[in-house]
Every structure is written in structure tokens, then in C-alpha cells.
């Protein structure tokens, strides 16, 4: 298969993730969408690595997966802390801090 298909898929993943972060309001779903965005980068790296025939990017992808997991752990930790404080789990309700 051509590399274009992989790149199109990864661009779609990235766009879906970005759109999700922008329009969804539940922080847990937003964390999922962030994972999608990171996976899109990982997929692009793998496709290029395959195309170029060098393995540097494959090591990179393993590390990206670890980093993504760490990010979710901290994110879910904050969500749990907010839930315990009975704060609304809706980013639109995060009103104390206006942009």
C-alpha cells in the first residue's frame, strides 16, 4: 500500500482528536481525544519509518506511547480530585478561570 493512505489516516485521526478537544465538554472524553492526537503522530512516524527503512522512529513511537500513558494518568488524577471536591466535570463549567 502507498504511504499516502497511512498519512491520510493519521491526518484524519489528528483532526478528529483536535475537533474532539475543541467541542467535547467532558474532560475524560477530552483526554481520549488527546490520545487520538498523539496516536496520529505515532502512526505518521511509523509510516515514514517504514517508507525510509530506518528504525529511529520506531523507538520514538514506543516512547510516545509511554508519554501518552503518563499524561492520561495525571489527567485522570486531576479529574478524580475534581470529582471528589464535587466540582462539575464539564470544561464549560470551569468558570473560575476565564480566558
Amino acid at each position: 500500500m502507498d504511504i499516502e493512505w497511512y498519512l491520510v489516516l493519521s491526518a484524519l485521526l489528528f483532526a478528529t482528536g483536535f475537533l474532539g478537544v475543541m467541542i467535547r465538554r467532558n474532560p475524560v472524553v477530552i483526554l481520549l481525544c488527546l490520545e487520538l492526537m498523539l496516536s496520529a503522530g505515532a502512526l505518521a512516524l511509523l509510516a515514514f519509518s517504514r517508507m525510509l527503512g530506518n528504525q529511529d522512529a520506531q523507538v520514538f513511537v514506543l516512547i510516545v506511547l509511554v508519554v501518552a500513558a503518563c499524561e492520561v494518568v495525571v489527567g485522570l488524577g486531576l479529574v478524580v480530585a475534581m470529582y471528589r471536591r464535587r466540582l462539575p466535570l464539564d470544561v464549560d463549567e470551569v468558570k473560575e478561570l476565564k480566558g
Binding site: 492526537m37 529511529d56 522512529a57 475534581m82 466540582l87 480566558g99
Partner: protein
Amino acid sequence: MSFDAPTIDYAGLSPVIALTVGLVVIVLAAVFDSVRRFGPALALLTYAVTAGCLIWQWNANLDLVSGSLRIDGLAVTLSLLAVIAAAVAVLLAIGDPSETQAGRSDWLALLTGSLLGMVILAQATSMLTFFVGLELLSIPLYALCGTNLRRRESLESGLKYLIVGSVGSATLLYGLAMIYGASGATGFQAISDGLQAGDGMLSDSLTLVGVGMVAVGLAFKVSIAPFHQWTPDVYQGAPTPVTAFMAVATKAAAFAVFIRFFLVALGPLADQWDVMLAALAALSIVVGNVGALAQTSLKRMLGYSGVAQAGYMLAGIVTATQAGVDALVFYLAAYVAMNVAAFAVVVIRERQNGFSDDISTLRGLGREKPLLAWPLTIAMLALAGLPPTAGFIGKLYLIEALVDDDWTWLAVMIAIGTMISLGYYLRVVATLWMSPAGQAEAGAEIDTASLPPQIAGAQADPFEDSRADRRWYLVAPALIATAAALFFGVIPQPLVDFAQHAGDALSVWIS
């Protein structure tokens, strides 16, 4: 078959090793009750040893770990700035509600972890270490922002920073993937070679999309407009010692990799990205300075001012010359001094005023507590860029570098930004000195009413400290930073040498 043991340059790696060992010791110390209260001392010792290793490696100029890290002037100088900022944060956090509630050792371990990320980031010369360093810097910071569990804003700022920061990281990663696809390499030098060797790769859309996305990702981290929206919120919501650390150290480390990635890896593309970065810098200067005008919270104001200052500093990269890098590093060093002085005073005032950072809490401070008012005054004047402070020399240096490289319009933008910025910096100074002391009481009452909602029963705040202005660990950073901001304004040469040491490291790649 013979086995060649890998050569490990322990001397070059010593700053990273010292920090890692310190991190482990701080985490282990949490287990033992008897040692726990020495946490800050342990952290400061770790930072002192790290700073010692960095100074020991001052003249080093070599690749480490098969070219994924590089210790040179740029890495050493900017790591030193980050270490200084972390040490200040440890001092400012003593007795802070965030540190107590999160558990002192955990708080310090997170801070040290973030600092380790910064030191790695400042040395990164491959996409891998770039990304790992950036995430190691960011993830502990997300948690640190949320450590003041008692305050709703703290948790919310942590979540907000995490979401925005992760969008930035993901964008950066995608950009890195594009550049990898275009150049076929992950090392910075190899990327540069790959881009030059590839046929037409320099103007390839793949490359340009990648460069743009990396710039956006880094702009999120150093809060360049229009990717700055999180900055004022997170600065305000996060515990103030964390804000001080975030404002200063993150910028130092992120600018280190910004310089290295754009000037070394993307050096052949300088003609393509300089206009893009110049536009971002100009936008940042305008948005940051105009945004700061309307703020009543001191921390929010410093957040917007940080956006504007990031714009000034980005201008140093736009030139892609050694003079530009020198000016950027000089400005960063001055920025550390100015911000540390300002945030230390904010921390002290917050503890005396029920954790309100409203500008009105400063009323009459000049008459009542000149020892607090002077550092803040000088910090504000330095941030505004008035002589005889380091901020003035820094701006002068930047403008000179810009004009020399035919970026006069950007230099003019800096001058215009400075003029706008006087509007809000001088307002703080006026509140400090010109409001009659009688109004101080009235101001304080209004602040108590406008306090953020707290957990019921927290009427008598155990973390308030009316004697905060006499605690040496709070006052000393303010005074030393103020003295530095003044000293390097009058005698700039030592700091110029410091900055040029950073620029010299890149002399192979830039003119």
C-alpha cells in the same frame, strides 16, 4: 567477535545524573518521618550539586549518548537559569498550602522531575530527547498546578494546563513526524543534512507543514500569542511558587530547544521560518501588552506580561544570528531576576492577605513596608525596560541585534510594546507608593469579600502568615533578585559574557 563497551561520558552527563540521584533521594526521604522535614534542604542540596556540575562543565562542548544530548554553552547557561528558578521555588514554597497539602516530598519530587526535564531539554539534540524532555518538563508541572487541593482554581488550572499543554505536545509530535518524513533523520544535525541533501525538500509542503506545527507546539509551551490563552488562567490558578517556577524556568528550557531546533536542525530553512516567527513575535507583543492593561490580578497581569516578554525573546530567534541568540539569553537571564523579585513579593503579600493577589492589596505598601515595595517597584521598572535595570540592557541588546539584521520593523514593535507596557507596570508602582496608607485597610476589606470560595470551616486560614515579610526564605530571593536586576543594569558585562557563552556554542551553525 569482540564487544566494545559503549563510551559513557560521565562528566558531561553529571548534571543529569546529579538531578536524577537527588530526585530518587527526595522520593525515598518521604518514607522516613525523621528525614521528611529536611525535604527542602535536600532539594536545595541537589540543585546546588547540579549547578556545581553545570559550572564544572562550563567549557564543555561535546555530544553525549551517541548524539542525543549535547552539553555546550547554550545547555549550561540555560540549565543554570532553570536550576536557579527551581531553588527559588523551593524557598518560596516553604509553608505554602500547596506544598503542605500535596505532601512536601511529593511536591519537591515533582518540581525536581520537571527541572530534570528542563535540563534534558536544554541539551537535547535529537527529536527523541526533545520530546521526552518536553514531556518530562510538562507532566510534573500539570500535577504541580493542581497541588493546592483546597482551592478550586488550582485543580482547574491543572486540568486546563494539561489539556492545552497536551494539544501543544501532540501538535509538536505531528510536526516532528513530518520533518522526520522529509529529512529521514531524528538527530538535529542529521535533519539539517537530510533537508539539504533531499531534492527540493527545502520547499516541500511536507517540511513546511512540519516546521509550522513544531513552531505551534513550542509556542504553546512558551506562551506565544495566539497560543497563549491558557497563560493568564493557569498563572492565576496555580500556587504562586509554582507560577514563579513555570514563568521563568519553562521559558528558559523551551527557548533553549527552540533555539537549537530552529537554528541547527532547521537552519537551512531559515528564510522560510523567519517571517512566520516574526509575525508570531509581533502578535505576542501586541496581545500580551494590551491584555495586561485590563487586569486587576497581579498574577494574571504577570501572565500577560509573560506573553509579551516571550514575544520580545522570540525576536532574538527570528534574526537567526549569534547576536540574536546572545540577546535572547541575556534577556532570559534578566527575565529570571525580574520575575523572581516580583513573584516573591506576590507570595509574601498573598500570605498576609488571605491569598488574594489583587493589585489593590498593594496599597500603601511603600509607606508601610518599603522592604517589600522596593523589590516589586524595581521588578516592574525592569520588566518595563527602564534604565538602570537589566531589563533595559536586555531590550537594547535585542533591538540592536534586530536592527543589525534588517528587522527594524520588529525592533519598532518592541519599542511600541514597551510603551504600552508602561501603562500597567507603572500602575502597580503608583499603587505601591502613591495611595495613602489610610486606604490600605479599606483595600484589604474589599479583598476579603472578593476571596474565592473555600471549603467550609476554613475561616481562620492556617496558612496565613502575618509575619511573612520577615521570613528570610521569602525575603532573600526577592532582595537578591532585585539586586541582580539592578547590578546587571549598571554593570552588564558579566551577564553579556554569560549570554555570549551560550551564543558561542552555536557559532558553527549561525553567523
